[in-house]
Structures are given as structure tokens and as C-alpha cells.
């Protein structure tokens, strides 16, 4: 049988890593724009390796949000990883011991999960290490370059780059909204709730992290109730 090697992982990880470069670069710039120190932005990428959670996180930090708010927001936003890890755990080979599980679970991203779960047969630890190595390095490195570049750019350029991360988010959510009424409904509901919380004076005490939690839980619950899908093993990439 053709066993997966470390080298196979590296090869499969390269395209993921290249995709991460632009997103992490933008994350670095966004963080510095929000007043987060460059070194903190890099530290966040080194320890989290997740796009949506990190952007929500720097928003909470910039607003001086509490630790409980931070923990809650990360839990809701990143809960989908639990599902991916669970699904992945069924595919690991018998020599995939607890130490390998503790270390590789750190880097289960949407893209890493998608590639790993698409492999035929069992997955050895050495393949997973190869798969996550480049994405992890590029994610952290891209953030460092973005944060550094963001610190020295003139104001007009920084102002223009501030929209980049939202441009990427828009590029992620609009195409599936065309194909799935459930996604469209969820996207519109979340945006409407977010505006409601932002602009209605009654809700002015609600901070950014809590707002994301409220919008996500309500919009995704309504989406799940009103537009249930055929249940599959893996969630679709973000």
C-alpha cells in the first residue's frame, strides 16, 4: 500500500500555505490599523492559526473587551473546528499516539481539514506534520510582514488597505449565498442583526465580541431551523 509520507504532506500543504500568505498579510495590516502592537499580532497568529477568530479577537482587544467575552467569542466562532477534529480523529492510523494528537490538533484549519479528510485511507502523523508545516509558517510569516509593512505605510495607503480583510470576507460569503438560500438567509440575518446592535441606541452597551456572539448564534440557529441541509460528515470550508 502506498503510505503517505512527510514529503506528501509538504506537497499538499504548499497551496494552502500560499493562500494563507495574502490573508495573514492582511490580518497583520488590519491589526496594526486597529492599534494592536505588531509583535502582538504575530503572537496571535503563532498561537491561534484561524482567520475569523483572530479578526474577532483583535476587535475585542482594540475595544478593551474582557477575558470572558474573548473566551465566549472564540468558543462560538471556532466551534466548527471541534467537528473537524472529531471527524479527523476517525481517520488517524494506529501509531498516531496522544503526543502527535496534542501537537497536530493545534493546526486543524478549514483547509488542512479539507485536504486531510480527502485522503484515501488512514493518515500517519508524519503526513500531518508535513501538511501543517508550511501553512503554519506562512500564516505567521505573512502576519509579521503585514504588521511590519502596516506600521511604516503612509496614512492614505493604510486607509485603503483597511478594507482588504472585509473584501476577503465578502468574497467568501457572497458566492455560496447565490447557490444556497440557507446561506443567503444566514448572511442577511447576521448582517441585519449586526446593524441593529450597532445603530439602535438601546443596544449601544453591547461590545463587538458580544455582538458577534449574538448575531452568530441567532442567525446560524435560524438558518439551521428554517433551511436544514442533508447532513454530511464534513462542514464546507469557510
Amino acid at each position: 500500500m502506498n503510505e503517505l509520507r512527510f514529503k506528501d504532506g509538504i506537497k499538499d500543504g504548499l497551496p494552502i500555505a500560499l493562500g494563507y500568505l495574502s490573508v495573514s498579510f492582511t490580518f497583520g495590516i488590519t491589526a496594526v490599523n486597529m492599534g494592536i502592537p505588531a509583535i502582538t499580532a504575530v503572537l496571535i497568529s503563532l498561537t491561534n492559526v484561524t482567520s475569523a477568530g483572530q479578526v474577532a479577537g483583535i476587535g475585542i482587544i482594540a475595544a478593551g473587551g474582557g477575558y470572558a467575552e474573548m473566551a465566549m467569542a472564540q468558543l462560538i466562532i471556532n466551534l466548527r473546528y471541534a467537528l473537524m477534529s472529531l471527524s479527523l480523529s476517525q481517520k488517524l492510523d494506529s501509531r498516531y499516539n496522544i503526543w502527535h494528537r496534542l501537537s497536530t490538533s493545534f493546526c486543524v484549519t478549514d483547509e488542512v481539514f479539507a485536504v486531510a479528510s480527502g485522503k484515501n485511507g488512514e493518515i500517519p502523523a508524519r503526513y500531518m506534520y508535513g501538511l501543517i508545516l508550511l501553512p503554519y509558517l506562512f500564516w505567521s510569516g505573512g502576519t509579521a510582514v503585514g504588521a511590519f509593512v502596516g506600521s511604516i505605510l503612509p496614512d492614505e495607503v493604510k486607509s485603503a488597505l483597511g478594507i482588504a480583510i472585509y473584501g476577503m470576507f465578502i468574497a467568501i460569503i457572497i458566492p455560496p449565498s447565490k447557490k444556497s438560500r440557507g446561506v443567503l438567509f444566514t448572511v442577511i440575518t447576521a448582517a441585519a442583526l449586526s446593524c441593529l446592535i450597532c445603530y439602535v441606541p438601546l443596544f449601544s452597551g453591547i461590545s463587538s465580541g458580544i455582538s458577534i456572539i449574538i448575531c452568530t448564534v441567532i442567525a446560524a440557529s435560524l438558518g439551521a431551523l428554517l433551511f436544514p441541509r442533508e447532513v454530511r460528515e464534513e462542514p464546507v470550508d469557510e
Partner: protein, 108 residues
């Protein structure tokens, strides 16, 4: 509160929660999720999160709301025609830059 201490603990909380979510199911639990509602809920979560984070924040992402709206419209149109992440982001940035340049030049 000391700013460095606050930054450190915020990042620590963030990293710990994110890690536990990924690690526990891989290292400890073995049960499959059976609830159809939970599966559907988790499927819709990324879209809800990204949408709530983008709107209305995108309109305040640049130096002025007009340029931000221009960038948003360009991004939305390109995304509708299924251009890639990078294309959409770069064109949105370009629109903001050009709009702000026009506003400055016309003394707006």
C-alpha cells in the same frame, strides 16, 4: 490595567480556547455528533460570523465612509461574479484609494 498584561492575557485566553476546541475532540472524545440541528448550526456559523463582522464594520474601515462604500460595492460586485479572494480584496483597496484621492483633489 497594565496594557502589556492585558494584551498577554487576552492572547492567552484566545489561544487556549481555540486550542482546546481543536484538541479535545481529536485527543479525547470519540462520540459522533448525531444532532441534525447541531450539524446544520455549525455549517452556517462561518457565514454568520463573517457577515456580522463585515457589516457594518466595513463602512468604517477607511478614513471616510464614502470611500468605504465605494470599496464595499466593488467588492460585492466582484464577489458576485465569483472572483478570487485576492482579486476582490485588492480591487476594494484600489477603489478606496482612488475615491479618497478624488475627494482630496476636488477639495471635498
Amino acid at each position: 490595567m497594565n496594557n502589556t498584561v492585558y494584551l498577554f492575557w487576552s492572547v492567552a485566553v484566545m489561544a487556549l480556547v481555540t486550542y482546546l476546541i481543536r484538541m479535545l475532540p481529536l485527543a479525547a472524545f470519540r462520540r459522533k455528533i448525531k444532532s441534525k440541528f447541531v450539524m446544520n448550526f455549525l455549517y452556517y456559523v462561518p457565514y454568520a460570523v463573517l457577515s456580522a463582522m463585515t457589516i457594518p464594520a466595513v463602512f468604517y474601515s477607511s478614513n471616510g465612509i464614502i470611500s468605504a462604500i465605494a470599496g464595499f460595492v466593488v467588492a460585492a460586485v466582484l464577489a458576485f461574479f465569483e472572483r478570487g479572494l485576492l482579486t476582490v480584496a485588492v480591487c476594494a483597496c484600489g477603489s478606496v484609494f482612488v475615491t479618497e484621492l478624488i475627494i482630496r483633489l476636488t477639495g471635498g
